[in-house]
Subunit: 166 residues, 2 copies
């Protein structure tokens, strides 16, 4: 394989290791093993350093306009092409956990697609977006401006389950 | 594809989207676009929700002993099997950025492999690791107990480039 392909594979591996170790850290905390949890968090931080170094080495961080175009394309792929057949298959298998997970992600990627398109238009016109608070639902990832809704439109949890993004 | 395979692919996609969006957020800050940066951070947070939901749906979070075994295996694969040929290929292509990125990751995964083995032994013997501070090098990911070294053994930067993990 070429170095370009190797960087892509290494970025994929480091990205997934980071996410796993953060999940394993929470599990270790819940198991009453705070120092093991800290080790998982430390390794997760190191995998962030590796993932971002690989991403820079592959020229993956470009101008914000280019980055927004890539984000719009990625979100479009996920909600239009990737998640619909995944959702169908989970229903066919009767896997309710997977079905819910795919359903929430599909709905939220469509939201992200729209938000990134607005941001792209603003930056192409030479301006930042207007300053507004952004909230994210901890259950489905729903991403909304200004205020958390009384009930999440995607997964129906109450507004207390939303986090304000700093 | 089966739902099991679809969950693995969706987890890989969500994990990489999160890492990209965090990198794009830093670039947007540097470009003087703080609200676009905030949108990238919000979407990154949402992709964390998705990645962890998919990981739970695929049964990917088990007991801490099982999680540590998976971590030991993953780190072993990376430093013994994955990174050595990647490093060779980068040298053959004369790609210095990739060479450095692979070299640092290879060295640090070997460190992680040892640290996770110690943790596994402790937890298998029924105890947490002893409480100690953990520091991570922001340049190479080197992960050390107790204190940052005067000079990073892996990438040679001074101790100021280490971060204490909370
Ligand atoms: Fe790594
Ligand atoms: Fe998204
Ligand atoms: Fe929600
Ligand atoms: Fe997502
Ligand atoms: Fe590692
Ligand atoms: Fe270092």
């Amino acid at each position: 394989m070429s170095t370009k392909e190797n960087l892509a594979e290494a970025f994929a591996g480091e990205s997934q290791a980071n996410r796993k170790y953060l999940a394993f850290a929470k599990k270790a905390e819940a198991d009453g093993l705070p120092q093991v949890a800290k080790l998982f968090r430390a390794a997760a931080h190191a995998e962030t350093v590796h993932a971002h170094a690989h991403l820079r080495a592959m020229g993956g961080i470009r101008s914000t306009v280019e980055n927004l175009k890539e984000a719009v394309e990625g979100e479009g792929f996920e909600f239009q092409k990737m998640y619909p057949p995944f959702l169908e298959q989970a229903r066919a298998e009767g896997d309710r956990a997977a079905e819910n997970s795919f359903k929430f992600a599909l709905a939220v990627e469509e939201v992200h697609h729209g938000l990134y398109q607005q941001a792209l238009s603003a930056v192409e016109a030479g301006a930042d977006l207007a300053e507004r608070p952004v909230y994210v639902c901890e259950v489905c990832g729903n991403t909304v401006y200004d205020a958390a809704p009384d009930k999440c439109e995607v997964c129906l949890v109450p507004k207390e389950r939303f986090t304000l993004i700093g």
